[in-house]
Symmetry: C2
Subunit: 199 residues, 2 copies
């Protein structure tokens, strides 16, 4: 129906997260319809990223420089390290602009089912960072999933041995959230972690 080249493109586009065979075809047709203003610049952007973007050897973020801009920024607090599962989580925290310390990207979570061991993640590197630098507090900003929380517990034990303060993100009602739509786990966590409004 359509040539091998186009078929190959559809196949690879379909492998992008959020796309499948049907949306892969739609994306390919959209690219063919917008050669000048989308296909050409996308090829250029992909090629530049392939050539220039590296994983930061220190924190695991993606950047053109190694160490990355976040690790090199003299304005950030060296005593505070935020541990996240993925670069996507790091980006989410940076968008929120609520944290001015350093980061450490684990690259996943521990998982018995999938056989992910501490050595498969950047956990040894994290422990080495603790010994070499003056880190005082590690914030565990892992996802509130079973694997995320298992990893957090494991890390909390290891980090306590290393003698640093270990904290974790608060659980509770999301800002703008309605109680009626929240799951029981979140509501229980919010009740347990209730705070005094009047001192």
């Amino acid at each position: 129906m359509y040539g091998k080249d186009l078929q190959t493109l559809v196949q690879y586009l379909a492998k992008l997260p959020g796309l499948g065979p049907r949306s892969g075809r739609r994306a390919a047709l959209h690219l063919l319809k917008h050669r000048e203003d989308l296909m050409h610049p996308l090829i250029e952007a992909l090629t530049l990223v392939r050539e220039r973007i590296r994983s930061c050897g220190l924190c695991g973020n993606y950047d053109t420089t190694d160490p990355c801009q976040l690790c090199k920024d003299p304005g950030r607090d060296d005593h505070l390290v935020c541990v996240v599962e993925s670069v996507a989580d790091l980006w989410a925290l940076e968008r929120a602009a609520c944290f001015r310390g350093r980061y450490h990207v684990l690259g996943g979570t521990l998982s018995v089912l999938e056989g992910v061991q501490p050595e498969d993640l950047k956990i040894p590197q994290l422990l080495r960072r603790l010994q070499q630098t003056g880190i005082q507090e590690v914030i565990l900003a892992l996802n509130a999933t079973v694997d995320g929380q298992t990893t957090a517990h494991y890390l909390a034990d290891r980090l306590e041995e290393a003698g640093v303060q270990v904290t974790a993100l608060a659980h509770g009602v999301p800002i703008g959230g309605e109680l009626d739509y929240l799951d029981d786990g979140t509501l229980s966590a919010a009740i347990r972690a209730r705070r005094n409004l009047v001192a």
Copy 2:
């Protein structure tokens, strides 16, 4: 937060149909995580498509050759032409493998609101094809939208003048469809076009 190159890539990925800023970021991170098995082959596939794929001068399909394989195929019926809005629709009909004639891709629909005139679509080319070749029947396989049906009515008038038989896709209950979930328009069309089961 992340370099300019990566930001540019995210922006272009977000322009693909079905993706937005968030899924564009996810796609970029996925590509960085799968350099060898996705990013490199995707760049290669895009480059090949950019270099090789052209629009067929006769029917409007995309292919490496012009005329395309479908137009050149000696096994297809030259007397029958199926008019579709887009290449995606042509591909959908080819997947169904229910039609062995030729195609004609309009490249859109007439639209008063968006100012799309017959000359903006491949309608003059269709009328020329009718004069030059032995087309006997034109099947209007346009979408069952307001603009699609407006275009079908306009084409039906023009094609009747040209002296060919004009047909359109049947409306009715989709195979596997449940009446309770169908809209009123489809149900009315299915009732109006009811057929004799016993001859």
